[in-house]
């Protein structure tokens, strides 16, 4: 049963979208009777603090109104992220920072909406991202948004799954862009494989090519993400193949650093909850890793492939925290962060020694970095109780 849901989010919450954060629930739609239960769960931290896993936590980015979604190059010396830091563009643009010098270069063209970048893991000369800059109206829309914001109004956050989103690859040497998807529909949330030859991404293109029933047409208008599924393609955009075909929004896929696995999250059909999934590198052998009865998204594998880190609002609608789960989902997830507000979009450095994530713990959302305690993570996962339900469920 599908219930029409609103794509609304309180303005204080950052949600970089997409590598998986489509908020299908507004504050208004959260049943109030859940409140006491949520609070009770929130207080169960068993005396474990985030210092158990994280050392020397510190803010990494400071510029602009907000910054989020940081991803590393294979050598860990560059990070690419999205940030609202230019006065003439109200939307995110993509930037790449040299972690030796702190110098930052803009990767995206400076207009249009952009999101979801990733550095080619075989050669950091190439960076992919999703953008609407080829939409002939993009400059006009940008101006409208600037005027809207200048009027002092604040939009409640909503991600519109603009069908003009396509995936582009920027060549840092030639400074040229190549468009690697060219299909009507939302193409975004891309990530490279370890050898840099493949891109996995999310797209709702099928809704624009297949014949829709009246009910499906209504669904598309209410929630275009419902039709999103995962696709694989060669890094130049050739050989596109669909690897999921289930109701509900599949998105936010990442390869493991060794290229062996793909992790992603799938929303329930009604868009209320999401869980973490894993598959082998060509999309085969898909299995569900969590049954966490909350919005669990943005999964990312530790480079040892021993466990996955992800974000979930188990503690309350707007309190996203980071959790760990073992790679095959044999155990219940283990909570990592204990800070009110938003903690999400976690990424390990390629050597596994540090964690970068997006959080609004000190005000506007920015990237934070901390030393990662791998031994403590393994120990906590070992001690976690067995998964309560659905552990052996095969979802396809």
């Amino acid at each position: 049963m599908y219930k029409a849901t609103k794509l609304l989010l309180p303005a204080f919450l950052w949600c970089g979208v997409v590598h998986g954060c489509p908020f299908h629930l507004s504050m208004e739609t959260r049943p109030t009777f859940l409140e006491p239960i949520i609070l009770q769960v929130a207080n169960q931290s068993n005396g474990v603090t985030e210092e158990h896993f994280l050392g020397r936590t510190r803010q990494l980015t400071y510029a602009g109104k907000r910054t989020g979604e940081g991803y590393f190059s294979a050598d860990g010396r560059h990070i690419v992220f999205q940030s609202e830091r230019e006065e003439d563009n109200p939307w995110y643009q993509i930037y790449m920072m040299d972690l030796d010098t702190g110098e930052t270069e803009r990767i995206s063209p400076g207009h249009g909406k952009t999101t979801c970048s990733y550095i080619n893991q075989a050669n950091d000369r190439y960076v992919l991202f999703a953008s609407t800059h080829d939409d002939p109206r993009s400059l006009e829309l940008q101006k409208e948004e600037m005027e809207f914001r200048a009027s002092g109004k604040e939009r409640r956050y909503s991600w519109d799954y603009d069908p003009h989103f396509d995936i582009y690859v920027f060549d840092r040497e030639t400074r040229e862009y190549s468009r690697v998807t060219d299909t009507k529909g939302y193409d975004a949330e891309g990530a490279y494989s370890a050898d840099g030859r493949m891109i996995v991404f999310s797209s709702n293109r099928s809704a624009y090519t297949e014949e829709l029933t009246a009910e499906e047409q209504r669904l598309l208008e209410a929630d275009p993400a419902y039709f999103a599924d995962l696709y694989l393609m060669n890094a130049d955009g050739s050989n596109v193949r669909r690897i999921t075909n289930e109701p509900g929004y599949d998105g936010g896929p990442f390869f493991s650093y060794d290229g062996q696995y793909i992790v992603w999250r799938r929303f329930s059909e009604d868009g209320v909850t999401a869980d973490v999934f894993i598959a082998d590198s060509e999309g085969e052998n898909q299995r569900r890793i969590t049954s966490f009865e909350s919005m669990s998204w943005a999964p990312f594998l530790h480079p040892t492939n021993e466990y996955i880190i992800f974000a979930s609002n188990k503690q309350g609608f707007s309190n996203f925290e980071l959790y760990l789960v073992d790679r095959e989902g044999m155990k219940e997830p283990v909570r990592v962060t204990h800070t009110d507000g938003f903690d999400g979009l976690p990424v390990f450095t390629p050597d596994g020694s540090q964690l970068v994530w997006t959080t609004n713990r000190k005000g506007a959302s920015q990237l934070f970095i901390a030393e990662w305690n791998h031994a403590a993570a393994l120990e906590a996962l070992e001690a976690a109780p067995a998964r309560r339900s659905g552990s052996m469920e095969q979802d396809t």
């Binding site: 020397r56 936590t57 400071y62 510029a63 006065e87 920072m97 702190g102």
Partner: protein, 598 residues
């Protein structure tokens, strides 16, 4: 005490400067020297300050830095008033048949008075307040009065029974310097201030206080006690009590009046002890020697001496003790000395100036003197970086203040912090109670580095062993990185004019209302976080404590220190007002009884 003074004297005359160690000293060694008891707290104008200045000069010389162009020495002296005393000011009231003289306890010169003698007819001018013409409810005590060449008699403070915004407005313009200015502009030749029977400190004279500016206010001004008030209005149709009652509701139409037949003679003799402080300034010129632009990095090196000047937070049991000022601000000075080698060894497109200011604790007077002198015109200063109290790096955190002074700062800071890796707190407000404000007010983009207030702030216990020297070393690398980027940036940061939250919020002066709260200037919270409360002060009596966050005061929401100061302006002395605090997230309501600031 005598012994140490003697020794310090010997140090200056005999030992300095040849025996000051200056080879590759560590941060700790710099702090230990500057905060040693022999420097007696480095009060501006004292021998201890002078020894510190010589020490800094020796370090700069050893590192091969030059004095500023056109200067022989690193020392840049400035004059200030180091102390003042009333050496027998008098006041005489001359009526038709009598001549009454007031002296001693009954009369006190105001600290900003000119010296001299004036005899003239007396005019009573109410509270002597003039609010701006743009006010919603303008108030002018001088309206309709002719004061030309006469002596104005006015009441201290402001109409006592007023409330709300009007009270706040009147309170804002009730400072005695303001009042003296308006009296002078109205043509008055002299000013006598009386504290009315309805006011706090009723009938008392105004303590002389301390005014570091050398120049007088252009008017002869005294305060006089109740005996003068009585004599002045003797034979008048109303007593001072009745006169004040009529004024106290703030009705702007209650006017002052002449006192026919009454004349006064005011004689003021203030001895201002003029002293000399020293800024210590050096420069590393641009690599090719040619540039119009300067980057200045500075830290004050003076401190509170024995804590006699009123800024000390020493407990009464601590007596008269040296305030070593290890964190405040030997720490900032040491960090700059530490940075010099890395900055000297690189290419520079702009000149780098290093300024060690004195007189900061007396009211930013050293930095102000430097700015006023225009040795380096402020329009040529690309940016000013300030370090004031950077010795308490804890949990990898560091606060950078004044970030709102330029839009370019956040990205410059982001870049420079990649290697040091602090968990930074960026605070925007450029109106800071430290030297950076002088530069900001001259349209220079500023940053000020600060590791936070603490329990040893302005106390004899601010000693060197409490500092985190490894942390300071990392502060040095961050400040050096930002400085390096500024020296070579293609375009310097652009100054942003930030509106000041209050008109009169000059940081240190909090008006006449005293609550005994110690605000935490680093906390970025909604409300006013306290880093402590004064012993036996109103806040402590109300049960407030460290880390409480004041969110409401006297029924007004408090989002920041300015809101708090604003709320303070509307309350009455000795009358309980509600205060709401957050303590560990819990909302607690208390009652606080503000007292009069002594």
């Amino acid at each position: 005490m005598r012994f140490t003074k003697h020794l310090a004297g010997a140090l200056t005359s005999l030992v300095l400067p040849t025996c000051i160690p200056a080879d590759a000293l560590s941060l700790r060694e710099h702090v230990e020297f500057l905060a040693s008891p022999y420097l007696e707290g480095r009060l501006t104008g004292t021998t201890g300050e002078r020894i510190a200045a010589e020490y800094l000069s020796a370090q700069l010389r050893a590192k091969g830095l030059m004095p500023l162009q056109g200067h022989e020495s690193y020392l840049m002296p400035f004059d200030f008033v180091g102390g003042m005393s009333d050496s027998g000011s008098t006041l005489s009231l001359l009526a038709r048949t009598s001549n009454q003289m007031f002296a001693g306890e009954a009369v006190n010169a105001l600290s900003f008075s000119n010296n001299g003698s004036v005899t003239a007819p007396v005019v009573f001018a109410g509270y002597g307040i003039k609010t701006p013409d743009s006010s919603e409810t303008p108030y002018d005590s001088y309206h309709g009065l002719n004061l030309e060449g006469k002596i104005a008699v006015i009441l201290r403070y402001f109409p006592e029974d007023t409330t709300g915004d009007f009270r706040r407005e009147l309170s804002r313009y009730s400072g005695l310097r303001f009042k003296a200015l308006h009296a002078r502009e109205a043509g008055a030749a002299g000013l006598i201030v009386v504290t009315g029977p309805n006011s706090p400190n009723a009938g008392k004279t105004v303590p002389m206080g301390f005014d570091t500016s050398v120049a007088g206010s252009g008017i002869v001004a005294v305060s006089a006690d109740a005996s003068f008030g009585e004599s002045l209005f003797a034979g008048h149709e109303k007593s001072l009590q009745q006169i004040q009652d009529e004024l106290d509701d703030g009705n702007p139409h209650v006017s002052g009046f002449e006192l026919p037949g009454k004349k006064a003679t005011i004689s003021v003799e203030i001895e201002r002890e003029k002293r000399i402080g020293n800024n210590v300034v050096a420069m590393l010129p641009a690599t090719d020697g040619v540039s119009d632009e300067y980057v200045i990095v500075g830290a004050h090196y003076d401190h509170l001496g024995y804590g006699a000047g009123g800024n000390s937070l020493a407990g009464q049991d601590e007596g008269k003790a040296v305030h070593p000022g290890a964190d405040d601000n030997a720490s900032g000075v040491a960090v700059i000395l530490e940075m010099i080698d890395s900055l000297a060894g690189r290419e520079r497109d702009r000149h780098l100036v290093l300024g060690f200011w004195s007189g900061e604790e007396l009211g930013l007077i050293g930095a102000q003197a430097f700015a006023d002198e225009e040795v380096v015109p402020s329009e040529n200063v690309a940016a000013y970086l300030n370090l004031d109290m950077v010795g308490y790096v804890a949990d990898n955190s560091l606060t950078i203040q004044g970030v709102g002074s330029s839009n370019e700062w956040p990205s410059m800071i982001e870049r420079a912090n990649i290697r040091p890796g602090f968990d930074l707190t960026l605070a925007n407000d450029p109106y800071l109670p430290t030297d950076a404000m002088v530069f900001y007010q001259n349209d220079v983009p500023i940053l000020s580095f600060f590791t936070g207030a603490h329990e040893h702030y302005h106390k004899p216990s601010d000693t060197p062993e409490k500092l985190n020297y490894k942390g300071m070393d990392r502060v040095a690398s961050l400040v050096a990185a930002i400085t390096g980027n500024l020296l070579n940036a293609e375009t310097p940061p652009v100054h942003v004019a930030v509106e000041r939250s209050t008109q009169e919020g000059s940081g240190r002066s909090m008006g006449r209302v005293y609550t005994g709260t110690i605000p935490d200037y680093t906390a970025e919270v909604e409300g006013l976080m306290l880093s402590g409360v004064m012993k036996d002060g109103p806040a402590e009596r109300a049960g407030l404590q460290e880390d409480d966050i004041i969110v409401e005061f006297a029924g007004q929401t408090v989002a920041n220190i300015y809101d708090y100061m604003y709320a303070l302006e509307s309350v009455k002395i000795d009358e309980p007002v509600p205060v709401v605090i957050l303590r560990a997230g819990e909302r607690i309501e208390r009652e606080i009884v503000p007292t009069v600031r002594k």
